[in-house]
């Protein structure tokens, strides 16, 4: 296939730096801070095995004597110092946060991806086909919107567990969680994509493709999809924050990931048991991390929405 990409175009970094969106980014201190915080947490989560000073899930390296060490203070028995202290079993809180963020982000990203693929596909079909296909899909979406999404996720989670043999439950838990959160979140994508598709399909470039008899799938994927991705990106960013919070909520309620693979939500659940006995750090630091992550991703989403659609400001 002939490629019409020019050979002597300016390099990719220059073009990205010079784009309008990058310009708007450079002029928004809030967006820069939010991006920095998100990136640091994401980076730390990805490289947790190398960055974490301890492996909190290796029982061999744990010493119960190290339990309940306050932050930045030497342990009364062993004299070990932990930046953010340790929990009841002597696990380094900083390390558990790194590993927890890893799980939280993984679930968040995968859930958003799942919701996105499902929502975009159904939205494109509903918007392009119209008629009864559209009516059915959108009424399903309306009905789903009448349930709080966390309730729906709980329901899906419960039903899925009923079908999975106990032996696999532990291993499948994280995937069930992803599907549960993703399924409860596809409606937004479908609605936005449907609306944008209905606008785009009447544009003349789509008619031009129809005149030469291009296949509808090709029109949807090659013509319409690239032109509706802007708003999808915005929802996906804000959706990531929501998915991370949803995961934390489910894990906090004890239906999420198993305690052997604690996410930030699991850590908060464990930590709240020690709040009133004085070991505040076990709760506080995971909670602060979750807050920083969700808030910064959300702020990024807000900025992206404004930058992509100046009229909304």
């Amino acid at each position: 296939m002939t490629d019409f990409t020019p050979e002597n175009r300016p390099n990719v970094f220059f073009r990205a730096w010079d784009s309008d969106i990058a310009y708007s980014f450079r002029r928004s201190p809030l967006a820069i801070i939010a991006a920095l915080v998100s990136l640091i947490i994401i980076f730390a989560a990805i490289f947790a095995p190398w960055l974490a000073p301890y492996d909190p899930f290796n029982p061999a390296s744990l010493n119960l004597m190290d339990g309940f060490t306050p932050p930045m203070e030497p342990n009364a028995f062993t004299g070990n110092v932990y930046w953010l202290g340790t929990d009841d079993q002597g696990r380094d809180v900083f390390s558990t946060i790194l590993y927890g963020a890893r799980i939280s982000l993984f679930v968040g990203f995968m859930a958003v991806l799942f919701a996105m693929v499902l929502g975009i596909t159904l939205g494109l079909i509903a918007g392009y086909r119209g008629g009864w296909v559209d009516s059915v899909l959108m009424r399903v979406a309306d009905v789903q919107l009448t349930f709080p999404s966390i309730l729906l996720a709980l329901l899906i989670f419960g039903v899925a567990r009923g079908f999975i043999p106990p032996a696999y439950r532990e291993a499948m838990a994280i995937w069930v969680l992803i599907v549960a959160i993703g399924l409860s979140d596809w409606v937004q994508y479908a609605r936005v994509v449907r609306g944008a598709t209905m606008v785009e399909k009447n544009k003349e470039y789509v008619q031009a493709a129809r005149v030469i008899g291009a296949h509808p799938t090709k029109i949807l994927v090659r013509h319409i999809l690239p032109n509706v991705m802007g708003p999808v990106l915005v929802i996906a960013t804000i959706g990531l924050a929501l998915a991370i919070i949803a995961e934390a909520t489910l894990s906090f309620l004890g239906v999420g990931v198993p305690p052997t693979q604690p996410s930030l939500g699991t850590l908060i659940r464990i930590g709240q048991g020690f709040l009133f006995s004085g070991e505040w750090w076990i709760l506080l630091f995971p909670a602060l991390t979750l807050l920083a992550l969700a808030l910064s991703v959300n702020l990024l989403g807000d900025w992206l929405r404004d930058a992509l659609n100046p009229r909304l400001r």
């Binding site: 008619q207 291009a214 013509h223």
Partner: protein, 334 residues
């Protein structure tokens, strides 16, 4: 007749403009239909430019869309080079589809903003599988050259071009499947006059060079007169007059055609006194009975209010007016 390329017979299209079912039940309304095109018939000969003119609601765009298969006719038949166009049959249409193309009104909407110009122009070539590999790139370069752009422009995106240049790109794309027939839907109405002249001249040159046949849709009588061999005048979905282009302007037969001509501003400052134009196009959902033009017609007669006039031959073509049926076509002039 062998030199007819496109033949349209009894082309009709209704649009359902009813309110939703529940509203109709509650408000006791009936279903409502808008007849955008009502029993329209005409032939386009090979190598000519046939123009359809009309104001808003005349159905000119609806007819264009039916001809290229963007809309399904409610009734009537379209024949292309003698073969009936049946857009439902994919395989049979494929060969026919390659032979016609469409140029749209708004060059800012007719080019996908996310595609490179080269890919936009190559899309018909690829869809019809006309060429492959490096051949496509060379063909795109040649087409860009034909429309007065350079081969290097293939790598750019549409937003890097002005309106006139974009319309050139749209024309290059339309030419890429080597069609015989091009439907031009208001090709210059979004452009400035100096650019309009460039595009009209280009369309003429291409017609001479490739022996193209055009169907030109326009509301601008001056453009239509400049470009076409024959003209059809539409009013509220009906073809009121078809005539040879030059004669339509010197000897209009239908009172509506005359009114349209009188509405064109006079650039020559000749001080020609014009019959003042009156009234507006009525709502096409409830068109007047009989001849749809009768409420605005200066020569209205009793039968005009009841009987829909049929097209009859005139000195310059055909027209649908009761006045002409009386054998006194000159009565309207004065």
């Amino acid at each position: 007749m062998s030199d007819t390329l496109l033949s349209v017979h009894g082309l009709t299209r209704h649009f359902d403009v009813s309110k939703p079912w529940l509203n109709r039940v509650i408000e006791r309304d009936d279903r409502q239909f808008l007849t955008a095109s009502d029993d329209v018939s005409f032939d386009i000969r090979k190598g000519e430019t046939f123009a359809l003119v009309g104001e808003s609601g005349s159905g000119k765009s609806t007819i264009a869309k039916m001809i290229v298969g963007l809309l399904e006719p409610s009734a009537g038949e379209i024949r292309f080079d003698g073969k009936v166009m049946d857009f439902a049959s994919g395989a049979a249409m494929r060969a026919l589809r390659r032979r016609f193309q469409m140029i749209f009104q708004d060059p800012f909407a007719s080019l996908n903003p996310r595609w490179r110009v080269g890919d936009i122009i190559a899309e018909p070539i690829r869809t019809f599988g006309l060429m492959r590999g490096a051949e496509i790139g060379r063909e795109v370069g040649r087409l860009l050259d034909v429309v007065g752009l350079s081969a290097a422009d293939a790598a750019k995106f549409p937003h890097e071009f002005s309106g006139g240049q974009r319309q050139r790109i749209a024309i290059a794309r339309a030419l890429s499947s080597r069609p015989e027939f091009i439907v031009c839907d208001e090709p210059t109405s979004a452009l400035d006059v100096s650019v309009q002249a460039q595009i009209l001249n280009l369309m003429r040159d291409l017609q001479d060079e490739f022996g193209l046949t055009y169907l030109l849709i326009s509301h601008d009588l001056s453009v239509v007169r400049h470009m076409s061999n024959r003209i059809g005048v539409l009013y509220l979905g009906r073809l009121v007059e078809v005539a040879d282009a030059k004669r339509l302007f010197t000897d209009p037969q239908h009172p509506y055609t005359r009114m349209l001509l009188d509405a064109v501003p006079d650039l020559a400052l000749s001080g020609r006194r014009r019959t003042p134009v009156t009234g507006e196009v009525p709502n096409p959902i409830n068109p007047p009975p009989g001849c749809a033009f009768h409420p605005r017609c200066p020569h209205v007669m009793p039968e005009c209010r009841q009987i829909q006039p049929q097209s009859i031959p005139t000195a310059t073509g055909t027209a649908a007016c009761h006045l002409l049926g009386q054998g006194a076509p000159r009565a309207q002039q004065g």
